[in-house]
């Protein structure tokens, strides 16, 4: 898009170069997509991904008057077999990232490499092969299942689109196996979604996600609609399935405790940008970005004796509108450290210079000019 401002694209973090695979023909592209990836190797690489939703005015002659910058230049890697958690407040763009990776929305700019293939440029057979390997589990188990279809039809529907995975005769058996895998009685195959509880419905959603043996599952708030006791069951199930089927998860949630529990690495998003990314211990025990610190300190810990010793940072105000984000650092309007520099210079997502040589857990990527370690989770 021509109107894309230069600034956001220039803010390239120093992430590793992507090894692209040049595929001259569709066959080569499909072959590259089908090729296995070693555990710990990057399977999905996102580079400067941007999604702007245009704001238009006028009825007949639509004129673009601005754009909601839902995702504004983010980059990260997802490694094979790991869980990458993405946290952030509502409106920070985390669900848009999920939709972009699923190719449910077309990216305004940027690339998403799946095994070296830029999926934003794929079409036809190659894209279909990618879609088979990236599946999604949705937030709301009540609206993401068609009420007029039986469980068997819902879970079996992916086989209609990708018949090569399960030939017609074997589908019923396959669906029953999937029900068994997610801990539901295989005899429920002819029931309808309304006959199940929220937790059971989410299991159906997971079974549908697993049907095509994908390599990546994108989970958008998979447990936030569930009760506490049921939440634990679903989380445990997801961890079990990850080991069993060697899956990579992109786990999007706003509940920081759950994200810590399930994730190997965590990325914190704010207003369409990645504020900080690192391993779970780096982010939770050694956060360096003020937003992460505020976010973590605001989470109530279920332990009344911990409440006395913890420092709480209470942010003022609300998240600014993504249609008109602040200049420079997007967090500066709510940040207690903000200085002149923050309004003019956009901080890059990189390991802060002062920590580069230290080798401590604070040495992880953080987009702040004044990155500083601060323990907010544990009582002092």
């Amino acid at each position: 898009m021509a109107e894309l401002d230069k600034e956001s694209v220039d803010a390239t973090p120093n992430v590793t170069e992507v090894e692209t695979v040049d595929a001259a023909t569709v066959e080569e592209a499909v072959a590259a997509i089908e090729a296995p990836v070693e555990r710990g190797e990057p399977i999905l690489q996102v580079r400067n991904l941007v999604k702007h939703f245009p704001l238009t005015q006028g009825i007949l002659f639509k004129k673009q008057v601005g754009a909601v910058k839902a995702v504004d230049g983010i980059s990260f890697d997802l490694f094979q077999g790991e869980t990458l958690g993405i946290v952030g407040e509502s409106g920070c763009g985390k669900s848009t990232v999920a939709k972009l990776l699923m190719m449910l929305e077309k990216a305004t700019a940027g690339e998403v490499f799946y095994k070296g293939q830029d999926i934003t440029k794929l079409s036809g057979r190659a894209l279909k092969a990618v879609r088979r390997n990236i599946q999604m589990v949705f937030q709301d188990p009540y609206t993401s299942l068609n009420p007029r279809m039986t469980v068997g039809d819902i879970i079996g529907e992916p086989f209609e689109i990708h018949p090569e995975v399960a030939p017609k005769g074997s589908r019923r058996q396959k669906v029953q196996d999937l029900l068994d895998v997610v801990g539901l009685n295989p005899e429920y195959i002819n029931r309808y979604p309304h006959q199940f509880s929220g937790g059971q419905r989410q299991r159906i959603g997971i079974a549908r996600g697993l049907a095509l043996n994908p390599e990546i599952i994108i989970c958008d708030e998979p447990v936030s609609a569930l009760d506490v006791s049921v939440q634990a069951q679903v989380i445990n199930l997801m961890e079990k399935l990850q080991d069993e089927f060697n899956l990579s998860y992109l786990f999007i949630a706003h509940d920081l405790s759950i994200v810590r529990h399930i994730s190997d690495r965590v990325g914190v998003m704010y207003l369409g940008k990645m504020a900080e990314i690192g391993t779970d211990a780096q982010i939770y025990d050694h956060p360096t970005h003020p937003y992460t610190q505020a976010l973590l300190s605001a989470v109530p810990v279920p332990d009344p004796s911990a409440r006395e010793g913890r420092e709480r940072i209470i942010l003022t105000g609300d998240v600014p509108s993504p249609a008109n984000p602040p200049s420079g650092c997007r967090f500066r309007t709510r940040c207690w450290k903000a200085e002149e520099r923050c309004s003019t210079e956009m901080p890059l997502l990189a390991i802060p210079e002062r920590f580069v040589a230290s080798g401590t857990p604070a040495a992880h990527e953080s987009a702040c000019h004044f990155a500083e370690e601060k323990n907010v989770v544990h009582a002092a």
């Binding site: 506490v228 634990a232 069951q233 810590r260 605001a298 109530p300 810990v301 911990a306 409440r307 209470i314």
Partner: protein
Amino acid sequence: MTTMEKTANVPAPRSDEDYQGPLLEVRDLHVEFHTREGVAKAVNGVNYTVDAGETLAVLGESGSGKSVTAQAIMGILDMPPGRIPQGEILFRGQDMLTMPENERRKIRGRKVAMIFQDALSSLNPVLTVGYQLGEMFRAHLGMSKKDAKLKAIELMDRVRIPAAKERVNDYPHQFSGGMRQRIMIAMALALEPDLIIADEPTTALDVTVQAQVMDLLAELQREYNMGLILITHDLGVVADVADKIAVMYAGRIVETAPVHELYSRPSHPYTRGLLDSIPRLDQKGQELYAIKGLPPNLTRIPAGCAFNPRCPKAQDICATDIPLLHPVTERDGTDLPGRGSACHFWKETIHG
């Protein structure tokens, strides 16, 4: 604030002056709903008390009857299909269930107010927030529209909505989620009630905003010395603000305890299970403990202890005898004030 004087001018109930007991007392409350599938027993004998300045947290999963109890207290249950077959709700010693409706209207909103979970659907989208806030003053105190609007601005300032004067004529959709919840709080506070019931006040909000709203609520509660019933499923929020906790399951209170005690030594297997099943921010565990099974269908609550099909400690007696809320004591028999457990094996659970 001038509201204070105005409210004080209203003739108080006769027993108000020398009343000594708790602010609110719920005694053996039962609520049932008559549906096509049968009678759903949503609340089955709930007892609790709240004093002025005290925060009672009612903790439970969906369907545990925590919100229905609150609605019964407010007198906003849909009846029918709802029915209150037995029980008493005493506000300053007067039973609200037997008093005439016009008496009750004087208490509702003025003495007992409620904050709802979903601010967007609780506010009227076609009226300005100023008009909706002012309604309390117009309806209860008979103020003029103009005075009511001034009061509304004052209230919006009180809950720290920036630029209250300019925003008083805005509509609910023009406010963010946190601001809308502040408006709900302002509305509940309008007449400086003695008791506020907050039904999941922060569930729909982001954590940073949740912290702001809970802080505001706690501050206002201290200032006005109000009783607060906080209904929630979030064990974290409860740990932060509550004085005492009542844990509900299938329409009954299964455990009561002061806040510190509940977290350090739960005396009911359900509470223990809940505490073990939440991931912690400050530590990384291995597998989460998960309570097996599902909460019961309220039309078919299991015989005996409602939790017995999911309980790891269940014995034969649990499937036949309903456990009452036993007072919980130390191993040597010393009283633990405020503690109770509705489990046949509470001794083993707390001391075992």
